[in-house]
Amino acid sequence: MAQSTLRYEHNSSNLITISRLSQQAPRILENYFSIGDTTPIVPFPNRENPGDYDILEQLAFSCLQSGDDRSALRCIDILASRFGSSNNKVTALRGLHEEATAEGRPELVKCLHEYEVILSDDPVNLPILKRRIALLRYLSRPVEAITGLIKLLDAVPTDAEAWCELADIYQSLGMCPQAIFSLEEALLIVPNAWNVHSRLGEVFYSCSSSSDAGNACHLLRRSIQYFCRSIELCGDYLRGLYGLFMATLLLLEKMSEESTMTAKFTTTGTLEALNTYARRRLEGIVARRSSDHSSWEHNQAELIAVKELLDRSDRPQ
């Protein structure tokens, strides 16, 4: 039925769902979105469902990711015929399509110039601003990408997505304090996002490896706190549990090396309890999800990583 096939896929960031969705693309386009089929009869208008256009946008992204550029272009054309080709989102999708079909660097640079032309006409075209930043990042010009993002965030400080992207770029350049600041800003906008909490924990964790011993313990402690919060918000969050396990393990090691630091921070007992707790939960999740293969198909990579971590931590003992 229409309802079940056009269901909005929430976890579409994983590749299996994407390829499945995009394989259906020609059929969905054929059946549900043929252009100009009926004229509305007053007072029973051709009821258009706003959700359909979300699906169409999603479908365009999926098609681009799985390489089905023709279907993607059709999706974009339908969207353009409904919202006009000068619509912000439609121009961004067109740009994305051009980027996807571009061959080699010169064409990408051409896309970049096109974006700049669009932006000189309409400086608040947010989707294009973001595309430009993503393209700059792809072309390995991170400093320009950061400048662009800071300019964007100065005007739109309530965009959590942009703050996360900024944090990601900063972290890839090894600028941890800046990355932490950006993620904290994102948290202020979405205070209950467990993935952002856990991401912040990860940044603290990687930050601790590049600082001196005293500071490292402090940063690890912060990292553990953020992982804990992410687990508090979502009990089964695999990434948070994984991080908690790693961070507590590392902090316990560091504390056994330098016994002077221990007094200032949380007690060894708590850390050990947290470590065993994370371990137990991870084992439980691995057992549960391995047996129920079909519904956790798209998370296999994470599951394998957890198994490996558990194996590794077993070996020395």
């Binding site: 309530t158 904290e184 202020l188 912060r222 804990c228 687990i231 850390l271 309890a273 707790y277």
Partner: protein, 264 residues
């Protein structure tokens, strides 16, 4: 007093039914549909910010509100740092679109084109409600006033008299009789679900929805009403930030986790 236990009978011409009940109902439904399409046609969505500076001015305030509401996710030192930054920025007017105009009296919304447009939008919405209602009410008053048009098939208490028999000043009439003016009111408030069926659930014929929308502006809209001075709002927000108390949700989270989930 009417005789208790004895059913009142009124001899009515059956044509009353066809020439009053049906016309009122049909006219109400048609005006509802017309109103829906007129509102859709005349409605212009709130304008997004035209320049980056304008968007910055709008969202600068929302940032402060977000910070005030969600500061518990921050550790005390990053909280203090941000608070100091935001208060200073608000005091200096760093987020303002044109900092030179600070302290000037706010532009008159009647002369400011943007403010004018917002006010016109509100007025158009109100007119869409007012004009058809006034017209139909006077139409019914002129043509059908004083008719008793139908009898409800169930008994009601005396309290419903004012609701069902407006326009008919008869003290002794049984409450079950409905007057034409009351039929209009019943239609006015009772056709919501009919419009929902014909026009879809988010139709503009439903005037209740339009009243509710005024109370709850969607996020992303302009937080400033026309004629409001952004600088004043910023100073207010700076004051709010200055007096707020901070607690950190990360305090003692390790123990909390162990206590709440450790036993499982």
């Amino acid at each position: 007093m009417a005789l208790q236990g004895v059913e009142q009978t009124i001899l009515r011409d059956p044509a009353l039914f066809y020439w009053i009940v049906f016309p009122i109902t049909i006219v109400m439904i048609l005006t509802g549909i017309l109103r829906h399409y007129a509102t859709v046609l005349m409605n212009n969505p709130p304008k997004p910010a035209a320049t980056l500076a304008e968007s910055r001015e709008r969202l600068g305030l929302i940032r402060g509100v977000n910070f005030r509401n969600n500061a518990y996710v921050l550790s005390p030192d990053s909280f203090e740092m941000r608070r100091k930054y935001l208060i200073d920025a608000y005091h200096e007017g760093a987020f303002l679109k044109d900092p030179e105009n600070r302290g000037q009296p706010p532009a008159n919304p009647m002369t400011d084109p943007a403010g004018m447009e917002a006010m016109m939008g509100m007025m158009k919405g109100n007119m869409m409600m007012m004009i058809p209602q006034t017209l139909i009410m006077s139409w019914i008053n002129a043509f059908f006033s004083g008719f008793v048009i139908l009898k409800l098939p169930f008994p009601l208490t005396i309290r419903f008299k004012s609701m069902l028999q407006s326009g008919v000043m008869t003290r002794d009439l049984d409450v079950r009789w409905v007057s034409s003016l009351s039929w209009y009111f019943l239609n006015l408030f009772g056709l919501q679900s009919v419009f929902g069926f014909i026009l879809g659930s988010d139709n503009a014929a439903n005037h209740m929805a339009s009243q509710m929308a005024g109370m709850n502006p969607a996020a992303g809209m302009n937080p400033f009403q026309p004629g409001q001075d952004p600088d004043k709002m910023y100073q207010n927000e700076a004051e709010n930030l200055a007096v707020m108390e901070h607690f950190c949700i990360l305090d003692g989270i390790e123990e909390r986790i162990l206590q709440n989930y450790g036993g499982q």
